[in-house]
């Protein structure tokens, strides 16, 4: 593994991406990304996907019947 970030290959950078993304570090300032349009595009894609997924799945309430069924089952001793 190349420890010099500015000389990282794309494969090396992408191998470490999972760790880097979870580190809380601002990846857009990463030396490899400054010089690599492909990896910048990859990171942008991953952000776009995550944001789109959150909008796709709004948090929703279960209908009241769910609690009624739970309560009935508890009373029956299920």
């Amino acid at each position: 593994m190349n420890s010099d970030f500015s000389k990282m290959s794309c494969a090396e950078f992408q191998d470490r991406m999972a760790e880097l993304i979870g580190s809380g570090e601002d990846l857009t300032a990463h030396p490899h990304l400054r010089d690599c349009a492909d990896c910048r595009a990859l990171l942008a894609d991953l952000k776009t996907i995550a944001e789109a997924a959150r909008q796709l799945f709004p948090s929703v309430e279960p209908p009241d019947e769910v609690w009624e069924h739970i309560e009935s089952a508890i009373k029956r001793g299920d």
Binding site: C10, A11, Q14, D15, M17, A18, E19, I21, G22, S23, G24, E25, D26, A37, D38, A41, L42, L43, A44, D45, L46, K47, T48, I49, A50, E51, A52, A53, R54, L56, F57, P58, S59, V60, E61, P62, P63, D64, E65, V66, W67, H69, I70, E71, A73, I74, D78
Partner: protein, 227 residues
């Protein structure tokens, strides 16, 4: 308990990973670490553990939205998600006395719900890859696999239907980690605790899930670009 929500009402407050707050940030740094329960929540939990039905109803009101949403996101079917939510809370009722506080209650409850969901997926045989398999490193799935020409990047908006299908097509293990982290906003240490895996494994599987989604979306883009 005059200020307690009824089971069919939503609680007023919202706690990160314990309430109904939507996930914030995913690929970017997040700050959704589980908050310690406040004294009122701890008291409700203790009472529910002692068999107080009202307290259990209060717990349901506090957690129903997140558990139901997780079930719905995993199975994509309202009726099935309702059944799974019901089963998860019935299991909670049976097991709540065994909760010892080794992890946050919300994490423990999610773990319980996840097991209910996975059991259902296995029963249906819909899981193309089990959670265990998803946790195993696959040398053929290096990240460079997803690497491609910049003209094929996902610029602009993503088609909702295409993304929905791509997420539904993810192996269950990948889908679960993607939903828990990128949609629900759980941290890797919480996911590792829920799924009995290492934090590194959680990060690695999430990354693979995202890359698989990118592959699927790019494939769709390529298809649409064909004359």
């Amino acid at each position: 308990m005059s200020d307690a929500p009824t089971p069919t009402q939503s609680p007023q407050r919202s706690r990160a990973n314990g309430g109904d707050a939507p996930a914030q940030g995913a690929v970017a740094a997040k700050s959704t670490a589980a908050q310690p329960p406040n004294a009122a929540d701890a008291e409700v939990l203790a009472r529910a553990q002692a068999g107080d039905h009202q307290a259990f109803a209060h717990l349901y009101a506090l957690h129903k939205r997140r558990i139901y949403s997780l079930c719905l996101r995993m199975v994509g079917n309202v009726a099935e998600a309702e059944d799974l939510t019901q089963e998860a809370f019935l299991q909670l009722h049976r097991k709540i006395a065994t909760f010892r506080g080794d992890s946050a209650f919300s994490t423990w409850l999610h773990r319980l719900a996840i097991n209910v969901v996975l059991m259902q997926l296995r029963k249906k045989g819909l899981s193309l890859i089990s959670l265990d398999e998803a946790m195993e490193p696959n040398p053929e799935e290096g990240s460079s696999r997803s690497f491609g020409a910049p003209d094929l990047t996902l610029t602009g908006t993503i088609d909702r239907l295409v993304l929905e299908r791509a997420i539904a097509d993810l192996p269950a293990g990948y889908r679960l980690i993607f939903i828990l982290h990128d949609v629900e906003g759980f941290e890797h240490n919480e996911i590792a605790s829920m799924l009995d895996c290492s934090i590194g494994n959680s990060k690695s599987q999430l990354h693979k899930a995202r890359l698989k989604l990118r592959d699927a979306l790019r494939a769709q883009n390529r298809q649409e670009a064909r004359p």
